[in-house]
Every structure is written in structure tokens, then in C-alpha cells.
């Protein structure tokens, strides 16, 4: 007998519609308060404007919440959708789910694009998207069974708290002997006891015979999930073939998919080797270009950084096929088997660790002054098992460590913990405390923005210093790239709708290393095109990695190598082959533009979304301290001399810091102007009436909102 119980509370029987050209044209609504289950149709206008994935999520969330809704109100909704191409096994990177909710960190809509089987299985089970509202009084499991055509709500007791064992247990429970037919979404105790919780989405590794997972990490989505009393979502679906998504033109799909798959198989081993080492190659490359965050983003390189590079993980990763969706030849979801943690509830036990990827290595490694891959792997394992976002954990801990080293906080505040940079045992202990909601970890788990307030209010720490070094914008912790020397990437982070996450625009190399965009106009153009095209992946249920992390050999000779236009054309062909909608590359950008502008207006609805909300902490723009300045004095002196006409001779570091700050902050404001103009927004960063009309998002409630903000 299992030592847990799942008690059936509610069932909805339904007739599963056939997938038609990538869609089933209905969504699933579950309210765990009542509880209630309902099915909603998707109308043609929604389909045309919002496409799917993140577009559908935002539209559902918009209707679910009011401007006054808080993240922990029952009204807040967790929305999950794949997209029209999601679930295609032929075309690499076609198994993504996109999750949105109101973030506990930002108060606005957050979105996260995640691998695993859930989104595609949900669609094949009959739902383009799922929304979960309400709050359950008991631990709840929702089971969508596409084979039996029923949705069930269970109250649960006795299940493991941690996502690592919970995922395995629920996979076994619902699999009926076919574990590959199951995908589980779950959080963990860290998600419950912090504001930086993530969700784990499983896929089944047939070779290793285990449920593995990928993370919807950013913005505390897992925290909202846990706050609703949700223990897990489970979906069950049968086998997947090229016909399951019922594309409009299967022959055309096969043709373009074959080109893409073959190219990746041929070129990835010659380029970034993602099928062997994931994204770990970036560590030393970023370090060499002064772009790897170390010690809370003070510096971009460290002599010990190569310890965390791909050569370490080449040996640690368990070789094998590691695709988080079927048939993906990028297959970058690597893991480490038989890892034995030194701390915590799994101390001394062999576990399988999914990851780490670059962001986790930089966030939980170099940015904390930790250059030991074993510690990074252990932090990765526990963050996932506890349902914590490795990026926010890394950036929040780095902030706490710098505050500790600067004397803004001390051991009295940390419960006796030495939080000096490089203290790996303290970093691990903080994660266990976050999961338990205890000790100083409870404060760190509230994220950088809240920490700044708490440290100032309760520990008398200097708010001005913390405003400069606390690496958050819009309330979200920065992901792990240095931006000081790339104005375009400052915009990539500062102007990102959800906060500083690199999935909208990653322009560092184009801007800083290649100098492809010297003018404001060129930067603004890049900050228009790249966020729009990258958004499109999340509308369609796709991963962006195959687009530009493996590139054709002749790409460098094309007019716009950064855009990898050959692949953009393939994506266009792919979209048309699945949906039957004819499209051009420009149409893809237009599709995204509608959703992107809608999300900006959604921010406005929630009280954000204006120029002032696109500000950055100065650490992202330039050197905050004299030590930072002096470490790269030649670079900064030269900039002052050449760009500002300043004679640096005889000036103190403090004087030069101040002058450089004035210059760089002014540059960032100019960039905002240029980008807003390019995007068709007002000087306050609000989409104009003309823009929303041209994009077909001039819904009455949108126009009313714009009018209330003086846009007529």
C-alpha cells in the first residue's frame, strides 16, 4: 500500500476534439476553491491575434484579474499553454509550455518558457491552454487524462514535499505502466516559503527510466502555484507521431523539419556542442569577454572561472540523448547521475541532477564567488527539488553577500552565518533555510527588492547604496550577464516587459564584442526586432535555441547574420505548414508585436508599464564603487576622455565615478527615447492609439485604459 492518499473530489468527463492544424480551439478552466471544472471555446479573433502559448495565457489572465488583484488573491490565475507547433516531434525544439501568472515579485504578468511534455500533452488531450484559479483548502492534484477523456481533482495527503520524489511518485501512480505517457508539474517547499518559487515540468527519460524535469523558473510562478494549494498537475497522453498535431501540410512540414534536424546534427558538433555540453560552453566565453557576473555583478571575469567551464561538465554530465521534447536534435537537457549531496535531506544519497545550465553556473557559482562545480551542482539539485528559481536564488544571495561584505548587514542579522563571497556552505545553508521558511534564508527568499526594504527598515542599511547594488528591476532579479559595457543589453534588460531576463533580447555580443550597432537608431532597431522575434517562439510552443545557437555555415556571409534569416524563413515555412496560414518573416514579427504591446498595456493595467518602471540599478549601467572603477580604470578613463571630453588627469576616482555616472545614465535615457519611438510608444513608454489599432488589439478595455493614461 502506498503511504499517500489521493481522494477524488471532482470529475469532468469530456469529448476530446481532434487536433486541427495545431489547435483544438478550447481551453480548460479549473477553480480549486469551489472546486469547479469548465471548458471554454477559443474564438477566431483570439486565435488570429494571440496565436497561442503566451498570447493565449495573457488573454486569459487579463480577463481573470482586476487592476487591484494581488499575486496571492484567489483571483490570480496560473495559465499554461503550448502553441500551434507545440508537440511536433519532427522539428527541433517544439515541445515548450509557456506559463504566466501575476508575479509575487513584480505584481505584473510574468511568463516563463519551459521544456517537458506537459503543454503538448495538454493540447493533445483537448486543451490549447489551461487556467487554474482559486485556492484549495487541502493539497490538490489535478489530473488531465486525455486517454480516458476526463479531468479530475484530487485532495492529496502523504505525498513527498520535494519535487524530485513527488515527480517520480506521481509519474508511477498515473502511468498505468506507460511512464512516458505522463508529465507532472510541481513546485516544492521552497516555492511555498519564498517569493522566488519555480515549477518543474517533467519529461520521461526512457533510457534512464526516470522522470526528469525542466523549470519554469522566473518571477515566482511556483510560489503562486503553491499558494493555491496545488501539489501537482498531471497530464496523460498516448503516443505522439507527426500526425498527432495534424498539420495542414504534412509534406511541407517534413521537408523543412528534415532540413533543420540534419543541419543541427551536422553543425552542432562543429559549433557549440550543445548535444554534449548544453550551454556550459558560455562560462569561459563570458569570462574571457568580461561578461560573466562575479561577486554580485561587480566584475565580469575571475581567474578561477574556468573551473566552472565546459571542461568540468563535459566529464560530469552523463552522456546520452537528453532532449526535453521528442525528436529534438539539440538535446541540451543534460544531467549528472549518482551525485551525492554533502548537505540537506539527501545528504549521502545518490541522486540524479538535471543540469546545470549556464545561468545556474553563473548565478550559483561565479556571482557568489564560488568556483567549485560540485557546490553548483548541489545548489542546482536542491533548488529544483525545493522548487526555487536558481537565477533568483543566485542573484538574491549575491546581493546579501555583498551587503555582508560591505558591513550593511552582519552576523547578528544572518543568524551567525558568515556570508562572505565564496562561502559555499553558507550558500547551501541559505537554500535549505529558504525551503524551510526559516532563519535568514526566509528574508533572502523574498527577493532583492524586499530585501532592500527589510535591510533598510530593520537593520538600518543605507538605502542608496542598496539601490545601486541590488540587482533587480521591476522587482525581478537579473539573470546572469554583465551589462555595464553594453548599452543595448542594458535596454535588453531594462526594457524587458517582465523584468531583466535575457529571453527578450540578448545583444551583448552584437553590441559590445562585434560593435554591429554603434548608433542609437541601430540599437533601437535591435531592441525592436529581437524582442519581437524572440516573443514569437513563446506564442508557438517553441524553444529559441535552434534558431541562433546552431547557425548555417554560410550565415556569416548574409546581410544580417545576427538574425539568421535562413532559419527565420524555415520557421515561417514551419508555421504555415502546421497552421495553414500563409506568412512571411515580417508576419511573424507582426504577430509578436500584437502580443508584446498587449503585455505592455497589461503592465499598465496592473499599475506599471511606464518609463519610470524601465529604470535600472546603477550596477547594471556602470561601476558603483571606487574599487570597480579602478579595476578597469583605463577603460573608464578612456571613455570619459573620448566621449565626454573630460581631462581625467588629476581627478579623483570619486570625481570620475560621478562624471561617468552622469554620462551613462543620460545615455540610457536617450536609449529609452529611441526605443519607445521605434516601438510606436509615447515618451512615457505607452503604446499609442495608432499602434494598438494597427495591431488589432484595440479592444474596448484597452482603449479605455489608454484613455485613462492620457493616450487618445
Amino acid at each position: 500500500m502506498p503511504d499517500y492518499e489521493l481522494k477524488l473530489v471532482k470529475t469532468l468527463e469530456y469529448k476530446r476534439p481532434e487536433v486541427n492544424k495545431g489547435y483544438v480551439d478550447q481551453t480548460l478552466y479549473v477553480n480549486v476553491s469551489d472546486p469547479a471544472i469548465a471548458i471554454k471555446p477559443v474564438d477566431q479573433k483570439t486565435k488570429e491575434v494571440f496565436i497561442g502559448g503566451k498570447g493565449y495565457d495573457l488573454w486569459l489572465l487579463w480577463h481573470a484579474v482586476e487592476p487591484t488583484t494581488q499575486w496571492n488573491d484567489p483571483q490570480n490565475t496560473v495559465c499554461i499553454a503550448s502553441g500551434p507547433m507545440g508537440g511536433t516531434p519532427l522539428y527541433p525544439g517544439s515541445g515548450k509550455s509557456i506559463v504566466t501568472t501575476l508575479s509575487p515579485l513584480t505584481g505584473a504578468a510574468i511568463d516563463s518558457n519551459v521544456g517537458g511534455y506537459f503543454g503538448p500533452y495538454l493540447k493533445f488531450s483537448g486543451f490549447d491552454a489551461m487556467e487554474i484559479q482559486g485556492k484549495a483548502s487541502e493539497d490538490t492534484v489535478i489530473f488531465v487524462d486525455g486517454i480516458q477523456q476526463q479531468v479530475q481533482i484530487f485532495s492529496a495527503s502523504g505525498l513527498p514535499e520535494n519535487s524530485y520524489e513527488l515527480s517520480t511518485q506521481l509519474t508511477e501512480h498515473f502511468a498505468a505502466g506507460k511512464p512516458r505517457s505522463i508529465s507532472v508539474v510541481s513546485a516544492g517547499p521552497g516555492a511555498k516559503n519564498t517569493l522566488i518559487g519555480c515549477l518543474n515540468f517533467t519529461w520521461y527519460d526512457v533510457k534512464r527510466k526516470r522522470a526528469r524535469y525542466k523549470q519554469a523558473g522566473r518571477g515566482g510562478i511556483g510560489t503562486v502555484f503553491a499558494d493555491k494549494g496545488l501539489k501537482a498537475l498531471v497530464v496523460r497522453w498516448d503516443s505522439v507521431t507527426a500526425d498527432t498535431n495534424n498539420p495542414a501540410d504534412k509534406a511541407a512540414l517534413k521537408d523543412v523539419a528534415k532540413l533543420y534536424s540534419r543541419e543541427i546534427v551536422e553543425l552542432d558538433p562543429k559549433q557549440n556542442e550543445m548535444a554534449r555540453i548544453g550551454t556550459t560552453h558560455l562560462v569561459t566565453i563570458m569570462n574571457d569577454h568580461d561578461l560573466l557576473p562575479t561577486h554580485n555583478f561587480r566584475y565580469g571575469s575571475h581567474p578561477q572561472a574556468p573551473n566552472l567551464g565546459q571542461q568540468a561538465y563535459r566529464h560530469l554530465f552523463d552522456p546520452g540523448f537528453d532532449g526535453c521534447w521528442m525528436g529534438c536534435t539539440v538535446a541540451c537537457s543534460h544531467g549528472i547521475k549518482d551525485f551525492v549531496p554533502l548537505t540537506g535531506p539527501f545528504k549521502g544519497r545518490k541522486v540524479f541532477v538535471d543540469g546545470p545550465e549556464y545561468e545556474t553556473i553563473a548565478g550559483c557559482g561565479s556571482n557568489l564567488g564560488i568556483f567549485d562545480p560540485g557546490t553548483v551542482v548541489e545548489m542546482n539539485f536542491y533548488c529544483d527539488a525545493y522548487g526555487l528559481d536558481t537565477i533568483s536564488v543566485g542573484t538574491a544571495t549575491a546581493f546579501a553577500m555583498e551587503c555582508f561584505e560591505m558591513g550593511l548587514i552582519n552576523e547578528t542579522h544572518t543568524g551567525g552565518m558568515d556570508l562572505s563571497f565564496g562561502n559555499r556552505m553558507s550558500a547551501l545553508e541559505l537554500i535549505h533555510q529558504m525551503a524551510a521558511g526559516e532563519g535568514f534564508g526566509r528574508i533572502v527568499g523574498r527577493g532583492v527588492r524586499n530585501m532592500k526594504e527589510i535591510f533598510a527598515r530593520e537593520f538600518a542599511a543605507d538605502p542608496a547604496v542598496m539601490a545601486d547594488i541590488g540587482m533587480e528591476a521591476k522587482g525581478l532579479e537579473f539573470s546572469e550577464y554583465m551589462t555595464k559595457e553594453s548599452l543595448a543589453q542594458q535596454g535588453g534588460y531594462g526594457l524587458a516587459l517582465k523584468g531583466p531576463q535575457h529571453d527578450e533580447a540578448w545583444l551583448i555580443f552584437l553590441d559590445m564584442v562585434h560593435n554591429f550597432m554603434p548608433s542609437f537608431e541601430q540599437k533601437a532597431e535591435a531592441l525592436h526586432w529581437f524582442p519581437m522575434f524572440r516573443t514569437w517562439f513563446s506564442l508557438c510552443g517553441l524553444c529559441k535555441l535552434p534558431w541562433n545557437d546552431v547557425v548555417p555555415e554560410d550565415n556569416k556571409d548574409t546581410q544580417e547574420p545576427a538574425k539568421v534569416m535562413k532559419h527565420v524563413q524555415w520557421y515561417t515555412d514551419y508555421f504555415s505548414a502546421v497552421t495553414g496560414r500563409s506568412a512571411t518573416p515580417g508576419d511573424l514579427v507582426k504577430m509578436s508585436e500584437a502580443v508584446y504591446n498587449f503585455q505592455r498595456i497589461f503592465n499598465l493595467k496592473m499599475g506599471f508599464g511606464r518609463r519610470e518602471h524601465d529604470n535600472l540599478p546603477y550596477r547594471a549601467v556602470g561601476p558603483v564603487t571606487a574599487t570597480e572603477y579602478e579595476s578597469r580604470a583605463e577603460r573608464y578613463d578612456t571613455q570619459l576622455q573620448k566621449n565626454c571630453g573630460v581631462d581625467t588627469a588629476g581627478k579623483t576616482t570619486a570625481e570620475k565615478l560621478s562624471l561617468l555616472r552622469q554620462y551613462r545614465e543620460a545615455q540610457y535615457e536617450k536609449l529609452k527615447d529611441a526605443v519607445y519611438q521605434r516601438r510606436g510608444w509615447t515618451k512615457d513608454g505607452i503604446p499609442t492609439l495608432e499602434k494598438v489599432k494597427s495591431l488589432g488589439i484595440d479592444f474596448p478595455e484597452v482603449l479605455e485604459l489608454l484613455k485613462a493614461h492620457g493616450v487618445r
Partner: protein, 65 residues
């Protein structure tokens, strides 16, 4: 000899990555080159020597994220 894509290039003692790029007359602004299993970034092209019989991969563009 050094193998680079489908070509072979004569190796000489002390040959750096910068030397190699000059010899093959490829003016693309590569930011990273891989020598066997080691990634080398542009700031180190001048000081990184290539061993004989190495396989060299020119990484076209680093896309990140």
C-alpha cells in the same frame, strides 16, 4: 597539419589562432574558436597557440540565452 572545416592547413611551430585566421584569409569577426574540445575567445587569439594535428572549429556567432 591542422584540420579546419573541410580544409587542411599547414601547421608551424608557435602558430596562434590569429596566425591561422590570417593564413586562411577569413575576415569574419569571430569571437570564439574551438580547438579540439577547448573554446578560445577573441581576446586570447594572439596568445593561444595551436597544437599540430588539431581540429579547429570557427564558431560563427555567440547567441547566448
Amino acid at each position: 597539419m591542422i584540420k579546419i572545416s573541410d580544409k587542411t592547413v599547414a601547421w608551424h611551430e608557435g602558430m596562434t589562432i590569429s596566425d591561422l585566421l590570417n593564413e586562411i584569409a577569413d575576415c569574419h569577426p569571430y569571437a570564439v574558436v574551438r580547438i579540439n574540445e577547448t573554446y578560445v575567445s577573441r581576446p586570447n587569439f594572439d596568445k593561444t597557440t595551436i597544437p599540430d594535428d588539431a581540429q579547429v572549429f570557427l564558431i560563427p556567432m555567440i547567441a547566448g540565452g
